[in-house]
Symmetry: D2
Subunit: 231 residues, 4 copies
Amino acid sequence: MNEGDQVPSRKRAIVVNFKTYLESSGPGALSLAKLCEQVSQETGAEMIVAPPMLDLAMVAASVKIPVFAQHLDSVPSGSTTGHVTVENAKASGAKGTLVNHSERRIKIAEIHDIIDRSRNASLATIVCTNNLAVSKACAAMEPDFVAIEPPELIGGDISVTTANPKIVADTVKSIRTISSKVGVLCGAGVKNGRDVAKAIELGTDGVLLASGVVKAKDRRAVLLDLVSGLK
Amino acid sequence: MNEGDQVPSRKRAIVVNFKTYLESSGPGALSLAKLCEQVSQETGAEMIVAPPMLDLAMVAASVKIPVFAQHLDSVPSGSTTGHVTVENAKASGAKGTLVNHSERRIKIAEIHDIIDRSRNASLATIVCTNNLAVSKACAAMEPDFVAIEPPELIGGDISVTTANPKIVADTVKSIRTISSKVGVLCGAGVKNGRDVAKAIELGTDGVLLASGVVKAKDRRAVLLDLVSGLK
Amino acid sequence: MNEGDQVPSRKRAIVVNFKTYLESSGPGALSLAKLCEQVSQETGAEMIVAPPMLDLAMVAASVKIPVFAQHLDSVPSGSTTGHVTVENAKASGAKGTLVNHSERRIKIAEIHDIIDRSRNASLATIVCTNNLAVSKACAAMEPDFVAIEPPELIGGDISVTTANPKIVADTVKSIRTISSKVGVLCGAGVKNGRDVAKAIELGTDGVLLASGVVKAKDRRAVLLDLVSGLK
Amino acid sequence: MNEGDQVPSRKRAIVVNFKTYLESSGPGALSLAKLCEQVSQETGAEMIVAPPMLDLAMVAASVKIPVFAQHLDSVPSGSTTGHVTVENAKASGAKGTLVNHSERRIKIAEIHDIIDRSRNASLATIVCTNNLAVSKACAAMEPDFVAIEPPELIGGDISVTTANPKIVADTVKSIRTISSKVGVLCGAGVKNGRDVAKAIELGTDGVLLASGVVKAKDRRAVLLDLVSGLK
């Protein structure tokens, strides 16, 4: 079993969410995932990719870095056409999943169910949150990571680590009052190695980003820069 | 371009929905899709497969028969993490999609949007319905197919063609008053070649089924039997 | 039984949706409903009001014009906390309901269920639609009225009857190919008697509006003007 | 201002959810609310009623005990037809609201938004939960009350206080590790004064029930019995 096969837990990481951009969909998903794998292998940095839903099995079969689902449904496997279950994700090669992303919020009982079933299936969970109170609430359900992304900064030009470092530091601190096991990521506007370094300095375990990589002219350069901030 | 690459339209067809069964998920999705391809190639019958969402690109890259999504979301491509867009489906190799399956009902404006965008992307649409009035309503939006599946018969032991042949015949007739272009499928309890033959006799263009194939002990025998009913 | 107690069917009507505006909520719902009743009684025009959900029973007990729900849920009465059933609406004094309003879209099977159960409960249904194809589809399920409201004109300054008279006329014509029983309303930007008169001229049975009345400085003058267009 | 006008906070209370039962809808909502008021006045016990949505303003105008909404939507007031906002509830006379009831689960960010806006509007919040982890999570968002209702016991014949006293005691204890301000209720199968007394003994502030009252032959006797357990 090589390193990419491990469920990541509390290693510092860069999580690249491909969203549903056409540039990172289908063949584009495969090439971006391979680039992330290459950068991970060259630098030793932990990189996690979350390709479009339909591409997950294809991507997971082609790269050794952890591939995460962007969303899972809290439904049983079987007569649940059009949904994606925890067990489907496992069977298709996922190592974990985003949960409650700002573009795909779910019910609290569903968050708990996904965390629970993912743990049983050895899948890691990254629960996305929008503020301090919701971050604490999600930490109480003990996912592997909580990823704080202030909605007003998502898709913006200024990194959360610059625009609102206090919310990042406060999230880390307040999650620590609930659990020592839950990792913290931050996201929204993250674009370069300085943003990543600041995130680490504020006590997080890494960052979650999307357009900063997917839409970059020179993705390889951007990835190498981001990774440099992890150290 | 070979036959499997065509968007199916008004050819008689057997549509196999893999749902989210573990038996037809991940590696199981690939082997079942290949078996369907084999039967299609041997018999010349049109077979369409709808694998679990995460497996679509992988399956589409491996077989020549049409691969359909089980569900698409009526959202734009881009900042819609955890959703599946029409354009994602196209990029990942889908030839069409189920719409409004009984296990994944959607809003009427969403049905129309998916039909519209799929047509523009040369993807075929099969809209699932629960009764005569809803079938007429969906036909008015001109998908490629309407698939009538009476909810009380889904997952049961008796085929809709035996339990309620009138609803199938009435659906065909009433859809014809709305449009001559919309094909009709039926589903619920379909298990063998006699059921398929009866569906064709009642005026449909084929059937939609799931557990009858996925859960069969001898899938190849079941598929060959089903296909025999198409003639 | 007086006139206001009748289920309205194919009488020309002005439907005033109070939405959830604070100006038309709580005590404000009651005073606006009473003003509409007054104008209806003075002019003989049919006026229908749709107050905020929580205010329905209170308003229905206080006025004789028909009071409609803004939305009903397709769930059974009983263990469905936080929902509003067809039977609840009947018990609370509603005479009908909006269905699938642009701000509260529902699934197609739910639209059909609400139409069906409302008919059994002698409640009238007004199904809101966003374009020609969806209007035809909804007409196929035979509600009392289809109300076409092009989304790009909702909340705007120009009435649909001025901005896009063709969609109104086409909707009327195409609904007539499906059913002679279904009435047609139009909405989006409707503000005065000329807009109403034009709507009638285009073949509709009236209009659906909200802010044009709720936000008006002189509501009584606006209502009298609107009603003048019905003749 | 009399006692019924106060937002209840940490007083022991019996919360009666009328659900959407026909027996407690429309005129039935009014008579049941008046009976609860009578029992509250006679015994001095705090009783809270949650009538069907459409009946809220009518009931709130007729009784002095606190009237709660069964559900509120996390949307702004205004162009949100068919929804119920925090501000609507306030305008219509509500003193608080159930949040995330097992029959109406909502997203975690919505729970937080409802708690936050309700606090600003001086409305009390009772957030319903399904297990220990979700109870802790909800307590972290500081509603007035968390109400634990194990789903497997809801609607059953055995009170949660008998069937699973441990989950009630554990919920109380674990919520205390998060906040001293959050009250705890329990529900599922609660039927009589002994169940209420046991709930109090286990450290809760009272109970949430529905069919035990709504479906009772002698509602007055049942209410008096329940209330006797509060002491």
